[in-house]
Amino acid sequence: MTRIAACLAGLLLLCGLGFCTREDGLPDPPRQELVPCRADAASDDPLACPAAPDDSGAARPAADAGM
């Protein structure tokens, strides 16, 4: 009984020391950075250069359903 109570108290202390989550303020995963587009990339390549403003559908989501 005493041993179990001691275990419980120890665990509580452990929880208190490292309570909850690791919040260091740094994004995990890291924040993205924009990269230069590739002029020679195919139109469905994510690195393809943006289409002209009047080219409809330029910003549609990538057509990849993530099979």
Binding site: A5, L12, P46, P50, P53
Partner: protein, 805 residues
């Protein structure tokens, strides 16, 4: 051969088949699907049968469930026993009492051999083994009782999906999704013999906390014919009912992410009437698995659950049950803190691909307040009539209402920093299901026959409004000229009928069955679609030794697509113009499935199992999750194939120390996209290569151990995953992970109010890992870092302390 029967199969033909099946079965004996059978004998120390012994069946809580007298040959039979663990004891004048522990499942006969020794017998030692005897089922089955469930981390606040994910053959994903043996979703949840219709995502499954479950049987493969319209697994739940003594608990859980969850339940019996009522309310700042571990942005949520069951035992042969549950969820859709807006000053800069080659997820401005709301009500009534030893009939009508709404907050989602040409959609849907099951089971000699049918009518409406960004203005916003909307209406009638016979002959058991299924879909335009199947299944088990069972199963499984989900992706993503009806071309999957396994109790405290399985599918169904939401949509591959191996162990070292473990290896692939082609790029549609599916995790392992000592218990769970697939063609895996969960609980029975206290530590080692790294429409989702929860509960009755909350 996707459709075995002609799509024009008529109701008349099916009804004729059903009548034939029913008349065949009624000529012989029965059980309902959620019930099992116990057969046994009472003998003395000289192995002579004892007639007239009083045989009592008790629940694991010690309550008397049934009582019978042994026959002239010492034999006894209990039919219609709900799933779970029991103790059978026998008493006869002039002999010592005998007893045995049993585990009852729907797919096999539980056997009891009770010995009542004479007082002057020289010696009779009947030792009870530490682990259950090997299963005689033809497929993969595991049974968990409430006693085993409530010592797990999070205790009775666990969702059933979290329990299922600890079993061999299951892979856990974000949002509580679980995948069985290479199938996406395809898990049938069934409560008290009633199959539950599809929900928004897997909301219903997540709405079933462990506190509402008396026992659960998980069938991962080799599904008998009584289980239809699913390919992967059946989670067969026997819900709790009021016991002889009042039972209740009030609990408060508090912990990481400002999670607060009050909950309560109460049950009691009043003569022939008994009831169980329970509910909970949860609030958390981490409601959905977000696209980053930290910081967590816009992820608050709340959920409420309520559950009620009432039983009226009209007579020894008639029992009525009323069951109702309600679930409410409200989620903020998390914002991805890693995603950055495009820079108008650097027009030739784009978002990068990640280390796996995945394109960046869609960008949403940080002030976007997108939300998802879901409400679900399920109510069922059940009448069970027993014909004594001859048979058992269950008639159970049900109603289910499912309402879901996704609000995109278009004014902000299409704001100044949003990508040019962005689209946002509000989508709401309502689905009404009405249906029922009729099941008859009978016992005749060495045969157990089951037959029945189920019917479900779905009426649904999906309202959507699609907004397009106003790229002409510097601040973006909604372009009113391009706003469009509409309603998709879908009706679907699903019908299935089955007949099956289980024949137990000595060491051999054979389970033979066949089912027919038909789905009739009607769309807004009046267009209809009929899909039907005939699914034969055969399984056999052979007791090679007393404690070693071999099994083999082969059959055809069939699953219709979800007509309700067909338009979700198209409307949400705006890939089909709002003025057009979304093409309904999704087909049912027909899968040839086989498995073989060995299950053995090596020593009395150790049980090992090994299973190999394989599947070849036509029109293989797959689902696509939409961003960081619970919504999914179906599509087909022309072909599919999958294979896997699973090993598991069960260990009982002493009365208070038990452990389990399992390891699974699997691979599942699809070839050639055959439907919902509006979701895919041209090169994907053109490809005929076999591609690994994104819900495949090659290696999965679980290890758990529980120590119980008086009022205290400690449980630790270790889960390993080699990672779900990612990359543009799913050729890579998300990094592997190891997660350790632990819980310690204590019942202070000597204090006033007899409080129970428990501490749950989830992800004790603070492993930072992703369930999924998104590609295309599928968003990234990360598991929670180390989280700590404290549970304090007060029992509402004087029931014996269980040692846990």
């Amino acid at each position: 051969m996707p459709n075995i029967l002609s799509p024009h199969l008529t109701w008349v033909r099916m009804m004729i088949l059903l009548v034939i099946a029913t008349s065949w079965a009624t000529a012989r004996p029965a059980f309902a699907t959620v019930d099992g059978l116990i057969r046994g004998t009472v003998s003395d120390d000289l192995i002579q049968p004892i007639p007239g012994a009083t045989v009592t069946l008790r629940s694991s809580r010690g309550e008397v469930v049934r009582q019978e007298q042994s026959g002239a040959d010492g034999s006894f039979t209990f039919t219609g026993v709900p799933l779970g663990e029991y103790v059978v004891d026998a008493k006869v004048a002039g002999h010592l009492p005998g007893h045995q522990h049993l585990r009852v499942g729907s797919a096999e006969v539980a056997t009891a051999e009770l010995y009542c020794a004479r007082p002057d017998a020289r010696a009779i030692i009947v030792e009870e083994a530490g682990v259950a005897v090997p299963s005689r089922a033809a497929g993969s089955v595991s049974t968990l009782t409430r006693e085993a469930l409530k010592v797990l981390p999070k205790g009775e606040d666990l969702a059933i999906t979290e329990v299922v994910s600890t079993q061999a053959g299951f892979v856990q994903d974000a949002f509580g999704n679980v995948y069985a043996r290479g199938n996406h979703a395809n898990v049938q949840y069934q409560i008290d013999g009633i199959p539950i219709p599809d929900s928004v995502g897997n909301l219903f499954a997540q709405a079933i906390p462990v506190r509402l479950i008396d026992s659960v049987e998980i069938l991962t493969g080799g599904l008998p014919a009584e289980f239809g319209n699913r390919l992967a697994a059946v989670v067969n739940i026997a819900s709790r009912s009021g016991g002889a003594a009042p039972d209740g608990l009030v609990q408060l859980r508090y912990g990481s992410f400002q999670t607060v969850e009050p909950s309560a339940y109460y049950s009691r019996s009043l003569g022939r009437f008994s009831f169980f009522i329970g509910g909970s309310y949860l609030q958390s700042q981490r409601a959905l698995d977000p696209p980053a571990i930290t910081p967590i942005l816009h992820d608050d949520g709340s959920s409420g659950r309520a559950f009620f069951r009432a039983d009226w035992r009209h007579s020894d042969s008639d029992r009525f049950e009323l069951f109702a549950s309600y679930a409410h969820n409200f989620f903020q859709i998390p914002i991805d803190p890693t995603s950055v807006p495009l820079d108008p000053l650097r027009p030739n800069f784009v978002r990068p691909v990640d280390a796996f080659g995945n394109s960046a997820a869609s960008f949403f401005p940080a002030d976007t307040d997108a939300t998802e709301t879901e409400n679900e009500l399920f109510a069922a009534a059940s009448w069970v009539h027993s014909f004594g030893q001859r048979g058992r009939l269950q008639i159970a009508p049900y109603y289910k209402l499912s309402i879901g709404a996704l609000s995109a907050d278009a004014p902000h989602a299409l704001g100044a920093t949003a990508d040019p040409g962005s689209i946002a959609s509000d989508v709401s849907r309502r689905a009404d299901h009405i249906g029922g099951v009729v099941q008859y089971s009978a016992l005749s000699g060495k045969h157990q026959l089951k037959t029945g049918f189920q019917i479900d009518y779905l009426l649904s409406a999906t309202d959507f409004t699609q907004y397009v960004r106003n790229d002409a203005g510097a601040q973006g916003g909604i372009d009113p000229d391009k706003t469009a909307g509409g309603t998709d209406r879908t009706g679907a009638l699903l019908f299935g009928a089955y007949v099956q016979d289980r024949w137990d002959y000595g060491r051999i058991s054979i389970n033979l069955g066949v089912r027919v299924d038909e789905q009739h879909v009607t769309l807004t335009s009046g267009e209809t679609s009929d899909q039907a199947s005939l699914s034969p299944r055969i399984g056999a088990s052979l007791a090679l030794l007393n404690d070693l069972v071999g099994r083999l199963f082969f059959g055809l499984n069939w699953q219709p697509p979800s007509p309700l989900d067909a338009a979700n992706a198209a409307r949400l993503l705006g890939v089909v113009p709002a003025t057009m009806q979304v093409p309904y071309d999704v087909l049912p999957e027909t899968a040839l499935y086989g498995e073989a396994g060995l299950d053995g109790r090596i020593v009395k405290r150790l049980r090992l199992g090994l299973t190999g399985w394989g599947r070849y599918a036509f029109n293989q169904l797959d689902d696509v999750a939409i961003g960081s939401t619970n919504l999914i949509a179906n599509y087909n591959f022309q072909r599919g194939r999958a294979v896997g191996v699973e090993g598991k162990l069960e260990l009982a070292l002493s009365r208070g120390l038990s452990a389990f473990g399992n390891v699974s290896w699997e691979i599942a692939q699809g070839q050639g996209i055959a439907s919902a082609k509006y979701l895919f790029a041209d090169d994907q549609l053109a490809s005929q290569e076999w591609q690994t599916l994104d819900h495949v995790q090659t290696w999965t392992a679980n290890l758990g151990a529980t120590v119980q000592h008086g009022p205290a218990s400690f449980t630790a769970l270790v889960a390993y995953g080699s990672g779900l697939r990612t990359g543009p063609d799913n050729s890579q895996s998300v990094p592997q992970h190891v997660r350790v969960d632990a819980t310690l609980s204590y019942a202070f029975d000597t204090l006033p109010l007899r409080p129970r206290v428990a501490i749950d530590i989830i992800n004790l080692l603070d492993a930072h890992y992703a369930y999924r790294i998104g590609n295309g429409f599928v968003g990234s989702s990360y598991a929670a870092p180390r989280s700590v929860f404290l549970r304090i509960a007060v029992p509402l009755s004087r029931a014996p302390a269980g040692g846990t909350t």
